[in-house]
Each structure stands twice: as C-alpha cells, then as structure tokens.
Symmetry: C2
Subunit: 171 residues, 2 copies
DNA sequence: ACGGCTTGGTTCAAGTTTGAAACAAACCTA
DNA sequence: TAGGTTTGTTTCAAACTTGAACCAAGCCGT
C-alpha cells in the first residue's frame, strides 16, 4: 500500500511537538545542571528513589519507571554513586540483583533543588497551559505511551499472580 | 515566596508527558537508525534541507529551525558530509558563513526512508489520537515553544526591517 | 543434577551532546 | 580607520547514550 503522508494539520502538530519537546528538555536540563549539577534524568532518578519505600529500588524497576535502558541507568547510577547521592546494595533474595538506595546526601540535594525545578516546570509549561490543556496533555501522553509500551507491560500479564516480576520488595 | 508545588493533575500530566516523549523519541530513533542508519535529528536535517530553496541553508538558520545548538549541528553535518548526504559550501556574501546543501545522494536516502518514518510517526502518534487531540497537541506545543523562544525570536524584533537577520538567501 | 534458556546487571567501544573557548569576518564608533 | 564588540562557525575535552556482548545467577525440564 502506498504511504499515507501526514496531513497539513498533522505536520504542523508534529513539528510543533518536536520543537516544544526539544526546547523544554533543554531548558530543564540547563536549569538543573546549573542549580543541581546534574541533568534532568539524574534528578529524576533521585526523585523516583525518594518516593519509593525505604528510598530504594532495584535497578530494573528503576529503569522501567524511568523508561530508560538498563545500560543507561547503570551509567547514571555509577555517577550518582561516585557523587555520594546513591548507594548500591546487593539484593539478598536474588543474588543477581542490585538495589539503588538514595543516601541522605542525595535526599538533601534533591530537596534543595526541587523548588527551582518545580518553578522551571511551572513557568515553562503549566503557566502557559489552561487547566483544560493540562488534562489534554495528560490524555495525549497516556495514549502515546500506551502504544509504545505494549511489550514492556504485556509480559507482566498476571497469569502468574503469585510471582512478582518486579521485585520492589526485595531485600 | 514559598514554592507552588505541582497539583496532582499537573504531576500526572508531567510524568505522562516525560514518559511519552522519551518513549516516542526512542522508538523513532530506533526505526530511523535501523532503516536509514541515522538518528532522528540527522534525518530532520536532511528533511529541512530538502524543503529549502535550492536545498541549501546556512548553518545558523538550520540550527534555528531545528532548535539545536550550532555546535551540535556542526557535529551532525560533519558526519552527514562524511557520508556524502550533505555538502558544505562557503557563503559568498559573508565569508564567515557556511552553507549546507543536500546532495542527490542525501535526497535519495531521504526519499527512501520517508515512508517508513511516516508510518512510524503515524502508528505511534497519530493513529492513537483523535482529530481533536491532534489540534490540541499543536496548540499545547505552540504554547510551550513560544515561552521558550522569547530570546531567540525577540532579537528579531523588526525595528530594523531592512536587515534580514536570517540570511537564507545568501549566495 | 545437568544442560539450556531466561533474567538482572555491567562492560565496552563507538557515536553523540554539551558548553566553553577559539577564530575569523563583519560591524560599529569615535 | 583602528580598536572593540558582535556574529557565524568550528574545535576540544568531558560527559552522556547506544547497543551489542558478556557474566552471573535463577529457572526448568528431564
């Protein structure tokens, strides 16, 4: 079948989206680099850890939540560990496992950086959108993400309910 | 003043957005890497050039349109030039300038890759959105981009109408 | 208990991005 | 028109990302 090219509306949306996402990520990266000495992803790692039970998470779970590869996460955590914001611990129940724990230092950095980060997100994103648009953005994003996660989520099909594939509770 | 944290709705939207944009870019990068041997940005460079008059554009203009730094563009174009998809030419009217031109080979690669790319964008993005949502996405993206470009665009304030700051027409 | 498959994580090399510094040409302005 | 600033582009080192390859450790069937 012959290609269905994008309609003019779709083209406009696509280009606007590309531009916006690039600019936004750049702005956020710059702000965090300035104020916290780390890029957005690294901040997100600290953030996710801080909200996890005991501030710890297995590498794979962390990667899954952040939607990044394990390899990328390994690199990032190695850096964060060097900087003392995260500690790696062995998983008792699964000797293959490695658990990343947010240190007090890491938590402190996070707390110090959070206000500035939120301000940035606010001023570049939410302050420019109506309440309605915020809802629309969520729905659109969910729709996109859903289509891209079939694989990642489907394997979890709970036909084996007794077996957590994501061992957050480990150790 | 004390920080205005994100509301639950905003948090949800923000997280969904981050996830979606990461996943989408990854998917598109992978597809293009597979089928065209280059990441999304590089494809975009060829694409923008292909639509420019004479298939050529000054580096700065190209960077501006793509919303990337000049340094990043320099690197990318160097690679594309090595691969023979782009040629660099000197600008006659401004000896500092450098003009990137899409070669026939580059155009051919673009033509060959375009259908697969469009299919990908379609299946991961537009097929999952209603017509309404496409419009919403455009508006939201425009709103975001606008806030982040004040600097880049404002200097262009046409109080000096006789002087094009973007010399697309050069050479 | 052995071999084979899968899973969790890391490693390594190659490629890309970043941001500051370096240059050179163009543009003032006194 | 000399000197100072701005603009267009590249360069360089350091940081980051990618994907394939690797190594253990768990899992499973026989």
């Amino acid at each position: 079948m012959t290609t269905r090219w994008l309609t003019p509306e779709e083209q406009r949306a696509w280009r606007a989206y590309i531009a916006a996402s690039l600019l936004l990520e750049d702005a956020i990266d710059r702000q965090l680099q300035q104020d916290a000495g780390m890029p957005h992803l690294y901040y997100s790692i600290l953030s996710v850890l801080s909200e996890s039970p005991e501030r710890r998470l297995r590498m794979t779970d962390l990667a899954e939540r952040l939607k990044i590869t394990r390899s990328r996460l390994t690199y990032a955590v190695t850096r964060l560990e060097k900087d003392g914001m995260v500690r790696r611990e062995a998983c008792r129940y699964d000797k293959r496992g490695s658990i990343a724990t947010l240190t007090d230092d890491g938590f402190a950095v996070l707390e110090r950086a959070a206000p500035g980060h939120v301000d940035t997100v606010r001023s570049f994103l939410f302050d420019r959108l109506s309440e309605e648009q915020v809802g629309q953005l969520e729905e659109i994003s969910m729709a996109i993400a859903q289509g891209l996660q079939e694989d990642g989520t489907r394997p979890a099909s709970d036909d084996v309910p007794w077996r957590r594939r994501s061992s957050t509770a480990c150790s």
